[in-house]
Symmetry: C2
Subunit: 339 residues, 2 copies
């Protein structure tokens, strides 16, 4: 299977991305189409792939321009049709690649994916899901920023799409929770209250409302919310994790004894960090489009890129989109006119 | 100054609350009116206050009933007018107490405060603020759950009220941020976009949009959002902090070397925990009511209660409500008809 990688996006540049592609090609049964400036990419590939098995499974596809991390997404995809992000999704559309992965400008990646591949049949709004680590298995939260204002039918569809995606984690009947501010059914804003009724009537394994404090407990597999709330949850969690580690480090370096203690406990810290590291989970899957797309964090390491490429491959291998289409076509008790 | 304490609320029962009251009375210049079942309270006071200076500054005010943690707030305040929560706020209304503190049913506390004391003049919606620790000073976030659906004028007023409250942290011109999902002014849902315009026209020190990842950085003193988003932020942060510590502990106990290391680094951990502990900040201030009220976490320790009582005293001493009234009366460029 071929996966297209926007090899120009991300904060660390092509080298890190290509290293991730090489690792993916060596670990899983996939080929990577590296999309970007061929001169730049060829140089890095030559250096990195020398004497490695994965080298045979990389192919460069030229894209003359790139979209900057701070460029306006809408402008970018209109004006830069030959950018690495756009070309990556064109490869999916033409069938040369099964899926695309980008760590570049996320707004532009989202817009390019929807524009070029189009929505899956019966999907009102494609969205972005994110995988959060918990005390137990991962939880898939959707939407985390693609849809700022939502209606109940959108949240219902996010639940269907995220449930299909959680097949990647071998979850048979994913437990779906609705993010709100109280456990009882009457709690929340009007969007939540109406969505509750919709989810309850659906064929999904809806377990009811979940609160912010339940997100990391691991007793639910899928959590739905609008993209405004979801994005804030994602960012506040990242910000807290980062700041807390910084504060803890600050306190540890103040005392030689604490520093020694930290050194001894370091393997445990590393294991903890691996457990909570977003890089373990690849990237945020774009769901509801014709094809598979993964949006990675700009600061993604080669390791995160490797996992994202494998994640994209798994989405295709497990035919996540077929599940979504089928579920939204006949398998539900909720009719589209509810919207 | 007398502060009323609902001495029956909270997960740990009266003993913990009274211990907090004693500590507050010994640390600061305040007297505590312990509200609740006098037989129960007298027994605890006798045991705890024996031979302690603070004992003279405690007084019991009988309230025959209590509101359970899970009781419906609206029903509770209608039916239990003689409950410890209601009596505590009645003491504020009658002038016997300057402020009230409760670690009991927060919905009922909020409802009792608004019902009994009423709104401050010019305040459309009283709200609940919460103090988050950051890499630098604390940040005051409002609203965190009292107002699920808000209009721009409400968020503007939250900004005024939280700015006034941040006088407790010696902040002269509090920097106000608007919580949303992108830094540029056009980012967010319609509530955020309209509020942006309102804040920009106001006399507040508005620094623009802030994202979830900025919350813990400490570059902003006040963050406004609707109560739905704010409550989810509060709960997800608590949940993440709790789960992360649990995961880290899980990894540490697996290895004897890591356990030894942890013991050596323990003072640093303690200092870190003190820095991020909500108990340091007392409780969530109820702003916009005639009087001062603090809602504490149900699981508040005596230490948290002590800090909440001192926080309530400071709110009165610094005349936070006068600032709010003055700001909402004449000092703003925004007129009420904006609503």
């Amino acid at each position: 299977m071929h996966i297209a990688l926007d090899a120009m996006g991300g904060d660390h540049g092509p080298r890190e991305l290509i290293a991730g592609a090489l690792a993916a090609a060596e670990q899983a049964d996939l080929d990577v189409l590296l999309v970007g400036n061929e001169t730049v990419l060829a140089r890095h590939v030559q250096e990195l792939a020398a004497g490695r098995d994965g080298g045979r499974r990389l192919e460069i596809v030229h894209a003359p321009t790139t979209v900057g991390m701070d460029e306006n997404p809408v402008d970018a995809i209109r004006k830069k049709r030959d950018s690495s992000i756009m070309v990556a999704f064109e490869l999916v559309k033409s069938g040369r690649a099964a899926a695309a992965v980008s760590a570049g400008n996320s707004g532009a990646t989202l817009a390019a994916a929807v524009r070029i591949l189009g929505r899956l049949k019966n999907v009102a709004r494609p969205g972005l899901a994110s995988i959060f680590p918990t005390l137990k298995g991962p939880v898939v939260i959707m939407d985390v920023g693609a849809n700022v204002e939502c209606r109940p039918i959108h949240l219902y569809q996010f639940a269907v799409m995220a449930s299909a995606f959680s097949r990647l984690y071998h979850v048979e009947k994913p437990r779906v929770g609705l993010l709100t501010i109280g456990e009882e059914s009457g709690k929340g804003n009007s969007l939540v209250k109406e969505t509750y009724a919709l989810l309850q009537k659906s064929a999904l394994n809806f377990i009811g409302n979940v609160e912010g404090r339940d997100v990391f407990k691991g007793d639910v597999d899928v959590i739905v919310c609008d993209g405004f709330v979801g994005n804030i949850c994602l960012k506040i969690s990242e910000g807290l994790a980062e700041s807390a580690m910084k504060m803890l480090r600050d306190e540890i370096v103040k005392s030689p004894l604490a520093k020694l203690g930290y050194l001894l406990a370091r393997p445990a810290f590393k294991k903890f960090q691996k457990r909570v590291d977003y890089a373990e989970y690849g990237g945020a899957p774009l769901l509801g489009i014709k094809g598979s797309g993964i949006i990675c964090h700009g600061k993604s390491s080669a390791y995160a890129i490797k996992n994202a490429l494998i994640e994209a491959m798994e989405m295709e291998r497990l035919k996540i989109n077929d599940f979504i289409s089928r579920e939204l076509e006949g398998g539900v008790t909720v009719q589209p006119e509810v919207a």
